[in-house]
């Protein structure tokens, strides 16, 4: 059998296994080792499993994932989200749609120390939703804004998805994190503008909240020193800001996790149960991500031996669409895949094949990381999978999926516009990392 036939059968088997709910990493590992074994031999294939598994889990660089997951878990357990929302609300809550704008700002602040889209969406479902409903905001808008803002967790550093992209493509994780800052801030700004436009077009739709005095506002600022300090220290250390120690991404994660733990304990917000829960949460998620990473690396050997990335590159570049045409095709593929699987699985499964195409076309790998994370994050809010929507539904019982998806539509449009802006002006993502 030719290598092309083996590759095609391998991909078909992979998709069948994944559709039959075999864990993505295990399916990739099984197909990868079977295909490799068929083409090279059983003994080398089995050796590959042991070596790749042990090498992956003992790679210090990969420690960035559990460390930032732990930081996010401690931050979530410490309840820092409430202070962020309260302070943002005191500044803008009295405006039309102000509570929505406050949610965007607070989600942005929380995402900058949490790194998880799902955790951001789940947290603000309990923090911002009741407040928005109290002031008469429609369910669709309140849940839609939370679902959309949850995606900020994957864009603003520290982002687990960006870290995984960096590991797979062997790009500098620090640079990827820094590259996400300006696009993340752009997302915050554009979400706020979207809410303002909704409020302007339909004045009765988004009521005004209560006005706070300047004294209350400044008092609120005192409550958010902890998340601000954590962000500046961790990301500043990664970027190499003056007067701060310089960190590798794994060190930044470890310092961030320990910092979040110390802040939580010293401020009395992190209880014993909170600490234990955070440790368990980080462990479970890290194990799930590493399983996929091990599977992807084994599958990568199969791809190499069948020369699949080279063949896909030849196929796509031979279509005569031009580099932006091919990029558009890839984006479209990701949007469709977003209907079938979650962001992490999509990134790990497809990047080893797509990345050579991107570098062959001369696109910047750091910029593409930002673009691809933005694209797959759209899958978190668009139907039918929409993980953030499922999370919100699990927290807020009395809302239907249709209502949440209805509320999210304006933000999906905003995201698509942002995607076009970032593709047109790569400098938005690349300016900060170019100064590292």
């Amino acid at each position: 059998m030719s290598t092309d036939a083996v590759a095609i059968i391998g991909f078909l088997a992979l998709f069948v296994l994944m559709l039959l709910r075999v864990p993505v990493g295990m399916a990739m590992g099984l197909v990868g080792v079977s295909g490799f074994g068929y083409l090279v031999g059983g003994a080398p294939a089995l050796k590959l499993v042991g070596q790749t598994s042990m090498r992956t889990v003992t790679d210090y660089t990969f420690g960035v994932i559990p460390m930032f997951l732990l930081m996010g878990a401690f931050v979530t357990a410490s309840g820092m989200s409430r202070e962020l929302f309260r302070t943002a609300n005191s500044f803008v809550g009295h405006m039309r749609g102000g509570l929505g704008i406050a949610t965007v700002a607070a989600c942005g602040g929380f995402a900058a120390i949490c790194g998880s889209s799902v955790a951001t969406a789940a947290t603000f479902s309990t923090v911002a939703y009741p407040e928005m409903r109290r002031f008469g905001y429609p369910q669709s808008f309140a849940t839609g804004v939370i679902a959309a803002c949850g995606t900020l967790g994957a864009m603003l550093p520290p982002s687990t998805v960006l870290a995984v992209y960096g590991i797979i493509t062997e790009q500098d994780i620090g640079k990827l994190f820094i590259a996400g800052i300006v696009p993340g801030l752009l997302a915050i700004t554009m979400y706020m503008i979207t809410i303002a436009i909704i409020g302007w077009i339909r004045p009765g739709f988004l009521p005004k909240g209560e006005r706070h005095s300047w004294r209350q506002r400044f008092a609120g600022l005192k409550d958010i020193w902890a998340p601000l300090l954590l962000f500046v220290f961790v990301i500043g250390g990664l970027y190499g800001l003056p007067f701060l120690p310089r960190f590798t991404p794994t060190e930044a994660g470890g310092v961030g996790a320990s910092g979040a733990f110390l802040i939580g304990v010293l401020s009395g917000r992190l209880t014993k149960d909170g600490i234990l829960g955070a440790l368990l949460q980080a462990t479970r998620t890290a194990a799930a991500v590493f399983t996929v990473l091990i599977g992807a690396l084994i599958f990568g050997y199969f791809l190499t031996i069948t020369q699949t990335p080279q063949k896909v590159t030849e196929l796509l570049t031979g279509l005569g669409l031009g580099r932006y045409g091919v990029l558009a095709l890839i984006m479209l593929m990701y949007l469709v895949l977003g209907c079938l699987m979650d962001a992490m699985a999509m990134i790990i499964l497809t990047i080893p094949i797509i990345f050579p195409v991107i570098t062959h076309l001369g696109f910047d790998p750091i910029w593409f990381g930002v673009i691809i994370v933005m694209t797959v994050e759209l899958g978190l809010i668009h139907p039918p999978v929409g993980m953030n929507v499922f999370v919100i539904k699990s927290v807020i019982k009395d809302v239907s999926f249709t209502t949440i998806f209805k509320g999210v539509i304006p933000f999906i449009i905003t995201d698509l516009i942002r995607l076009v802006i970032l593709i047109t002006f790569p400098i938005i993502a690349l300016w900060l990392p170019s100064h590292m």
Partner: protein
């Protein structure tokens, strides 16, 4: 084994992994503080960090496999009735059991090779194979727990009710 003992056993496995996450974070934090404030490096902190990472991940995979919180594609599963959901779950768990068993077998070979090659840590020149062995024991636990999961899915499915939300991304 009674269910209460079984669950305690599974919880203990998870706690082992969770404990190692905390130790890895503390190891990094203390190393960074000592390096920047006292220009002192803990001997082998780099090697200890990565070896403990290996241990936590394999023990974590054991717990994750039992709890069914791996990253999966739920498109078909979410759109069929309970009977077919159970069939899919049993099939997926059997595949999982097979893959992790093969992994455990090959990892043992890796542990033995590391021992034979006398691979040592950088500073203290300690053998690394005991760390690999502890990590491998995590994989052995995974095989055991997946076997229990398979049994429960077939015989006592009510014990395996799971959440659809997975805390990734």
């Amino acid at each position: 084994m009674k269910r209460v003992y079984m669950d305690r056993f599974i919880d203990s496995i998870e706690w082992v992994a969770a404990g190692f996450v905390g130790i890895v974070a503390a190891n990094i934090f203390i190393s960074v503080v000592l390096r920047n404030l006292f220009t002192y490096s803990i001997p082998d902190s780099y090697d200890f960090g990565r070896l403990m990472l290996g241990i936590l991940i394999f023990w974590g995979i054991a717990a994750t496999s039992y709890r069914g919180t791996h990253i999966t594609v739920d498109l078909v599963w979410g759109n069929v009735g309970p009977k077919y959901q159970r069939m899919i779950d049993v099939f997926a768990t059997l595949v999982l059991l097979f893959v992790v068993s093969v992994q455990t077998y090959t990892l043992f070979d890796k542990v033995m090779t590391t021992r034979t090659d006398n691979v040592l840590t950088f500073d203290l020149r300690l053998p690394t194979w005991p760390f690999f062995m502890v990590a491998w024991l995590g994989d052995v636990s995974a095989v055991l727990l997946i076997a229990i999961r398979t049994y429960r899915l077939i015989v006592r499915p009510e014990l395996m009710a799971e959440t659809k939300i997975k805390p990734v991304e």
